[in-house]
């Protein structure tokens, strides 16, 4: 194994944000957005595995039509725990709070977020909210599903719903404060020369997400408070016994929770825009169109919540209006997808781990997006709503989209966060395992849904033909679980044994790669930032207009070390 070192050997800088202070207090009272991002990374990953454990048990239980492991009560609590933890404590904060917190200020050339203390507060709210929710699971669980439909949640269920809702309320404020912080930061903290149309797409996406958070989250927060009041004090707002309308709860819940889907997916889309451009060594195709489609998705996202309720006895008129608006979402989604794909055109595609996540994302988001019209077309929804088709659809978007984006982004920014490279072999392998496992898990659920298996069913002994698909799905889930566990090991290992990454291992553009060390300094930059270059200016780096230079391929920074 003789290695000829031809590139520059990188060193980790002596002082950076990670070792600037070693006490526990220096972490728990930090105002550094990068440290808060690391705190978020740890807590979000913990919640991911809590939710994942619940999912694993649910899948295990469903292999048998008789449900041999749990009682129905326990099963209901399991899938509720899975939904609540994954939606409110993993997917919503994952990309904005971890990757956004870390990268967004650096990307726009700011020294920190606008309100560092508020940022820390929002992490604490997240943790307290998460602890309260976990306590409610321990004290007896929650069995109304993550959607908390009244009157089951408000009157009939006798589980720890009030406590859980208090936790969700706090988590809601955690994300509101993050949103406020991002909005102020993006508006006012951009470096000189960083105009709106020079912003990286990741910033665009997080900005649009923050707008959704700020407009939507309070609505669901107050709705949950109403449910708490109805449970504990016997107020009546949604109670049908009083002539109140239980469907109103759904309206108010989905007014936030549909845009919440975009809170989950938009930042992931932003990550994908960064990645696809970087690893194709090309400027993002149709920069302006992608930016507009981001804002369009955020805006239309607020006008389509009724498609969750086509058959929940809302009026025919409302159904038609919402169906129309829902199908319009297809347009910006199509714009994004085609532009990502076309970014590779005449590029120089490098199949690194993040790029494999990108390709996986495109594939899975494609399936998730294309099954949207089934549910958005109002008549087609009748047979599919409330079945596993819906489950499969939103898992393709939320897991296939958001988590692939999150993992891709994590692998992309990992060298920047911790200054060391992970094992590329294991990275690619786990990306492939996740992709394959994911498809095996969720594709059979489309068929299950079309066969008529309602979601949240514990037993299905009356329909034995569903079992084969459930078994396929569970088998896929075990593969998926392995895929999700692998990064834990090789990423942790990379912290100790990984070779130093250097400031810009991917040869990427952007302030975070070119103006900071890896890991960055506590104050991010050593110099005053003035932005002059357009975003994604890869043509200038790789000079791939001269196609002959590309034949031999241009090794990335981190590859240069050994040949």
């Amino acid at each position: 194994m003789s290695q000829a070192v031809i590139g520059q050997r990188h060193e980790i800088p002596d002082l950076h944000y990670l070792n600037n202070g070693h006490t526990i207090a220096s972490w728990l009272l930090t105002k550094d957005h990068k440290r808060i991002a690391v705190l978020y990374l740890i807590s979000v990953s913990f919640m991911f595995f809590v939710g994942g454990l619940a999912a694993a048990l649910v899948r295990l239980e469903l292999t048998s039509p008789h449900g041999q492991l749990f009682t129905s009560e326990q099963y209901n609590k399991l899938f509720s725990a899975h939904g609540i933890v994954m939606v409110f404590f993993f997917i919503i904060p994952a990309v904005p709070a971890v990757l956004g917190n870390f990268a967004l200020p650096i990307m726009i050339g700011a020294k920190d977020l606008a309100f560092p203390r508020l940022n820390l507060l929002s992490w604490y709210l997240y943790v307290v909210g998460a602890l309260i929710v976990l306590t409610s699971f321990i004290l007896g669980g929650v069995d109304a599903g993550w959607t908390f439909y009244t009157p089951l949640s408000s009157i009939y269920s006798n589980t720890q719903i009030s406590l859980c809702l208090v936790g969700l309320f706090l988590a809601g404020f955690s994300s509101i404060f993050t949103g406020v912080n991002f909005i102020a930061t993006v508006h006012k903290m951009r470096a000189p020369g960083m105009t709106w149309f020079k912003l990286p797409h990741f910033v665009w996406a997080n900005y649009a997400t923050s707008l959704i958070i700020v407009l939507g989250t309070p609505v669901v927060a107050i709705t949950l408070v109403l449910v708490i009041l109805e449970r504990t004090l016997k107020f009546g707002i949604f109670s049908p016994e009083l002539g109140g309308d239980p469907v109103l709860f759904q309206h108010m819940f989905w007014f936030y929770s549909h845009p919440a889907v975009y809170i989950m997916i938009l930042p992931a889309m932003g990550v994908i825009s960064e990645l696809v451009s970087c690893f194709s060594r090309r400027r993002l195709f149709g920069y302006e169109m992608v930016a507009f489609s981001t804002v369009a998705i955020a805006a239309i996202g607020f006008l389509v919540w009724g498609h969750h309720m086509f058959f929940s006895s809302q009026s025919v008129l409302q159904g038609i209006i919402f169906s129309l608006l829902t199908l319009i979402v297809a347009v910006p989604s199509a714009i994004k997808t085609f532009n990502w794909v076309l970014t590779m055109y005449k590029g120089s595609v490098v199949f690194t781990t993040p790029m494999i996540y990108v390709l996986g994302f495109i594939g899975l988001f494609l399936v998730g997006g294309l099954t949207g019209p089934y549910l958005g077309a109002v008549a087609c929804d009748v047979h599919l709503t409330g079945t596993y088709f819906v489950v499969a659809h939103f898992h393709f978007i939320m897991v296939g989209g958001a988590i692939m984006g999150f993992l891709g982004g994590l692998h992309f920014w990992w060298p920047k966060m911790f200054g060391r490279m992970y094992s590329e072999f294991w990275g690619r392998l786990s990306a492939l395992v996740v992709f394959i496992g994911f498809n095996f898990t969720f594709f059979p659920q489309f068929i299950l849904g079309y066969l008529g298996m309602p979601r949240r069913y514990h037993y299905y002994y009356f329909a034995p033909e569903w079992q084969i698909y459930n078994i396929l799905s569970s088998a896929g889930a075990s593969v998926l679980a392995i895929g999700y566990l692998m990064p834990v090991f090789y990423l942790t290992a990379s912290l100790i044994k990984g070779k130093p990454a250097g400031p810009n291992p991917w040869g990427a553009t952007g302030l975070e790669w070119n103006k900071t060390s890896s890991p960055p300094d506590t104050h991010n930059f050593h110099e005053k930032i003035v932005v002059t270059e357009p975003p994604y200016n890869y043509d200038a780096i790789s000079d791939n207009r001269d196609y002959r230079k590309m034949w031999g391929g241009e090794p990335l920074e981190w590859e240069k070390e050994t040949v």
Binding site: A110, P116, P218
Partner: protein
């Protein structure tokens, strides 16, 4: 949080390290506060939505339910809040002009108004607990000594009072938070805390307080002044 430069001029506002200039810092704080107020508007907005839906649905009855509320007390409270808002605006103005003493007096006046508001609120609320008009399990309609006709369906009355207590309760909570915020502001100003070096903290508390006033401006006609 350390300020730029070694020597801190106590008369100059501190520019925090993440900002370049004082203008940028001030504007950023205002943008942050306003986007937080967007959140608050949406939070109350959702309740206003529920209110208008039920008002529309039970429009014949809401008039009868509201007769148990006292428009006189509510009106007094409205004036009180308007006045406190005015004082708050004056406080911000005084801060901008660096008139420290006037600032403290105006803030103190605002707090007094806030307490008067809470006292009047208590005068309104406490009898409702005795008259079983609080929409808990012991809710009873029609009331034993009705001020109005006492008509309308008991169920819908419970919805009305649920809304009333939720909305005025949430508003009252905001008043309490406002009192705490103003108190902290006064103490820190008095102590010449590092964070209070320009008018922005007062301005932000002021914005919050005006928002509280704003909500009440709508709550008053919606609950106390339902026209027949």
């Amino acid at each position: 949080m350390a300020a730029h430069g070694a020597a801190i001029d106590p008369n100059e506002p501190v520019v925090y390290e993440q900002y370049e200039t004082i203008e940028q810092q001030q504007e950023t704080y205002l943008v942050g506060m306003w986007s937080f107020l967007v959140t608050e508007v949406m939070m109350f907005g959702a309740l206003f939505l529920v209110y208008s839906l039920y008002r529309w649905k039970f429009r014949g009855e809401f008039f009868m339910f509201h007769e148990e509320l006292s428009w006189q007390w509510g009106g007094l409270n409205t004036m009180n809040l308007l006045f406190s808002s005015f004082l708050m605006a004056k406080a911000v103005q005084a801060t901008q002009l660096k008139r420290a003493k006037a600032q403290m007096w105006y803030l103190a006046g605002t707090i007094v108004c806030a307490f008067i508001f809470l006292i009047i609120k208590a005068i309104e609320w406490i009898p409702k607990f005795e008259h079983h008009l609080v929409p808990t399990a012991s809710f009873h309609w029609p009331p034993h000594e009705p001020h109005g006709s006492g008509g309308g369906s008991p169920e819908h009355a419970k919805i009305f009072y649920s809304l009333y207590f939720t909305m005025t309760g949430l508003h009252g909570l905001h008043v309490v938070i406002g009192i705490i915020a103003i108190t902290i502001l006064m103490v820190m100003t008095k102590l010449k805390a590092k964070a209070i070096t320009d008018y922005i903290p007062t301005e932000m508390v002021g914005l919050y307080w005006h928002f509280v006033d704003l909500v009440w401006i709508f709550l008053y006609p919606l609950f106390y002044l339902i026209p027949r």
